[in-house]
């Protein structure tokens, strides 16, 4: 009760920028009707600027009143003169307000460093972007932040680049969150970023990788969708672009790539979750990556991360024909899922997209593969349907840890098999 009253005062303070230093809140106890009348007289004295939180009513009912500093003396003398008992509920209103403000902000505190950041919970876009800046600030020699474009709604699209030097070294690309509702993926991306900074110089495999190659990590590949999952619809998958001639919003960014675009395995209905868009790369979120990849010219592995289903997939999705590197990709996938399962026993199946999950056209890794990026993989992380997209936060870190082992396997293979 008191908290509510104080809160409303706080709001008043915030809005009216009032200062309540030295104000006290007194609780008056009236013995009879005559005393109640006396308090009512006090109420009428406007120059005292009294603020009754609980006004005079029956004798015996407590009366709560906020008294400005300069009126305290006068009020107390009045009360004592008329034998009206009182206690001091709040000694200094401003001090209490200050304390509450501090508590409120502490509750939503930004982590001060990537060491105090909570990896075992889901975060907002602002928190993830804040995390990126912290990581760059803490490891300026290793990590930098690149802006590769702006989303449909104007949000910046960032990629973290992990590099120990060199000029346009061969690189490994990892993206998470292309489908915004797949929250465990963005959360894992954040964990991967931290992991890389921890393991460089500690883990021999990762160190060897980073000594010759760069790692590019796009954590929130679909920022508009992600913001929407927080504000309006937790189950939102697509981008948030408007489609002329339709009341439905969004394009499936994993059907918008220029590989079998528009063929069987995507929908031409703007209201569908697998709507491919009006033309390939119509979505700026996709185009930004396409431009980046083409300009970079030296990406050797491309890994796009989704949830759920527990699968590791390689091309093709749009056609049944086996990819030329099928055997090698299949072997590598097998090693990767074996490494993944070694941690918690989580079982992943693997295979080409079309065989292991379903036919999908215009998908990311079909395009990257067509660009000559041989090690193109898509992950579908935990689980297999019990919680689906709403994976409990307690599973974020275990998921990220096991997935990291698979990523490491793929990255190491890429390093050892230059092409």
């Amino acid at each position: 009760m008191r908290g509510l009253l104080v809160l409303s005062v706080l709001l008043g303070a915030v809005l009216g920028k009032e200062d309540f230093s030295g104000h006290q809140v007194l609780r008056l106890s009236t013995a009879d009707a005559a005393q109640v009348e006396k308090v009512k007289e006090l109420e009428d004295l406007e120059h005292l600027q009294l603020d009754f939180w609980r006004g005079p009513a029956q004798p015996g009912s407590p009366i709560d009143v906020r008294v400005p500093f300069r009126s305290i003396q006068a009020v107390k003398i009045f009360l004592e003169a008329h034998g009206i008992g009182y206690t001091t509920m709040i000694e200094d209103v401003q001090a209490l307000l200050d304390e509450e403000q501090e508590q409120m902000f502490a509750f939503q505190a930004r982590a001060r460093s990537s060491d105090t950041f909570n990896y075992a919970t889901y975060h907002t876009l602002e928190e993830i972007y804040g995390f990126m800046d912290m990581l760059v600030a803490e490891h300026p020699q290793l990590v930098s932040k690149l802006q590769i474009g702006n989303s449909y709604e104007g949000r910046p699209i960032y990629v973290l680049k992990f590099s120990t030097g060199g000029e346009n070294r061969p690189a490994i690309w990892i993206d998470t969150g292309i489908h915004s509702r797949e929250w465990v993926t963005q959360a894992s991306g954040v964990w991967f970023a931290k992991k890389i900074t921890q393991d460089y110089g500690q883990d021999s495999t990762l160190t060897a990788i980073l000594d010759s190659m760069d790692i590019l990590l796009e954590i929130v590949t679909n920022p508009d969708g992600f913001a929407f999952t927080h504000s309006k619809n937790r189950m939102w998958r697509k981008t948030r672009s408007l489609t002329a001639g339709s009341s439905c919003v969004g394009v499936d960014p994993n059907r918008n790539w220029d590989a079998g675009f528009g063929m069987a395995g995507a929908s031409s209905n703007p209201c569908s979750e697998t709507y491919h868009g009006k033309f390939a790369n119509s979505e700026v979120e996709v185009k930004s990556i396409v431009d980046f990849v083409k300009n970079h010219g030296n990406i050797k592995a491309f890994i796009s991360i989704h949830s759920y289903s527990q699968l590791l997939l390689y091309p093709y999705g749009y056609k049944a024909e086996a990819a030329p590197d099928r055997d090698e990709l299949d072997q590598l996938a097998k090693s990767a899922v074996t490494a993944l399962a070694s941690l918690y026993g989580t079982k992943f199946k693997y295979g080409s997209i079309i065989k292991a999950i379903y036919q999908a056209s215009g998908s990311t890794i079909d395009w990257t593969y067509s660009q000559g990026i041989k090690y193109s993989f898509t992950f579908e992380l935990r689980d297999t349907g019990r919680y689906g997209f709403l994976l409990p936060a307690s599973q974020i870190v275990p998921t990220a840890q096991e997935t990291w082992l698979a990523l490491r396997t793929i990255m190491e293979h890429t390093l050892q098999h230059p092409y």
């Binding site: 889901y122 999952t229 069987a264 079982k347």
Partner: protein, 291 residues
């Protein structure tokens, strides 16, 4: 009429379906393997002559899921729900005019994983998918995992627990955005899943399958002395379309009694049609086939 009208074949999820099924009146598909990868995802190449695009990948998985939804619904027991562990073997016969029959054997796990307990059950099923029509015909038998009495005991405990919940239930989504379900609300989730099993069974075809994603609202929760009256809206996640389908479900349940379910699902907005709806209702049969 199928629940979802796709525009002309070119953009259907499986490509040109009718032509494909005509190619192979009889197909033998045996799958042997370990829990990890039963469906052509690892190991040697597929059976010769079997084109990947001809057969929806994971037809056996599809059949297993449908069989399990039906099994769970029929058993009517929220404390004894099962999920698919792995398909052990299976065989499919296709009749291009009628549909597709799948005979299979699969293992199951407890829906609610109890710490330390390994309760792998085994089921055999015959599933008949009618061409592009939902409501596959199912014959399924499973090894008994819990004594019937114990199961009823657990159900009764659940029922008592549910009776103690304060009404009206002060809850919006279960789980919340972060995947959290308050332990006291866990029985509600299980009961909702039981009702959803009926819906998911009816809607499953050889091309579409479902998972229960979230209870998006609880419209009514009444615990009388002889039934729990539960009216809720659930979001079903549909594969391979990725659609989220809201279904309003009204169920009546009491331990040991057959489950009563009525439902009404919203359909996808198509560019031409107004949104259609799909309805169904059932009472579970009283005889149970598991032994």
């Amino acid at each position: 009429m199928p629940p979802r009208r796709q525009p002309p074949p070119a953009s259907g999820p499986w490509g040109p379906r009718p032509a494909v099924l005509l190619l192979a009146p009889l197909l033998l598909l045996t799958q042997q393997g370990v829990a990890a990868a039963p469906v052509g995802a690892e190991g040697p190449e597929d059976s010769p002559g079997l084109q990947d695009a001809e057969f929806p990948s994971g037809l056996l998985q599809q059949a297993a899921r449908a069989a399990l939804h039906f099994f769970n619904f029929r058993a009517g027991s929220p404390s004894a729900l099962r999920v698919l562990a792995a398909v052990l073997e299976g065989r499919a016969t296709v009749n291009p005019k009628k549909g597709c029959q799948v005979d299979l054997v699969f293992t199951t796990d407890h829906y609610n994983p109890e710490v330390g307990e390994e309760h792998l059950g085994k089921c055999s099923a015959r599933v008949f998918f009618r061409n592009q029509k939902p409501r596959p015909a199912i014959n399924v038998t499973c090894t008994r995992l819990i004594e019937k009495n114990k199961r009823q005991e657990e159900d009764y405990l659940l029922y008592k627990h549910m009776k103690q919940l304060k009404t009206p239930l002060d809850v919006t989504s279960i789980p919340d955005s972060h995947g959290h379900i308050d332990p006291s609300l866990r029985p509600i989730w299980d009961l909702a899943f039981l009702g959803s099993s009926y819906v998911m069974w009816e809607k499953t075809t050889q091309f579409l399958h479902y998972y229960m994603a979230q209870i998006s609202s609880v419209n009514q929760w009444k615990t009388n002395d002889d039934t729990i009256d539960f009216d809720y809206t659930v979001l079903l996640h549909e594969f391979s379309t990725q659609e989220i389908i809201p279904c309003r479900i009204h169920l009546g349940w009491y331990p040991g009694k057959p489950l009563k379910v009525k439902y009404h699902c919203q359909e996808l907005q198509t560019p031409e049609e107004a949104s259609g709806t799909e309805e169904g209702s059932a009472v579970a049969p009283t005889e149970l086939n598991n032994f």
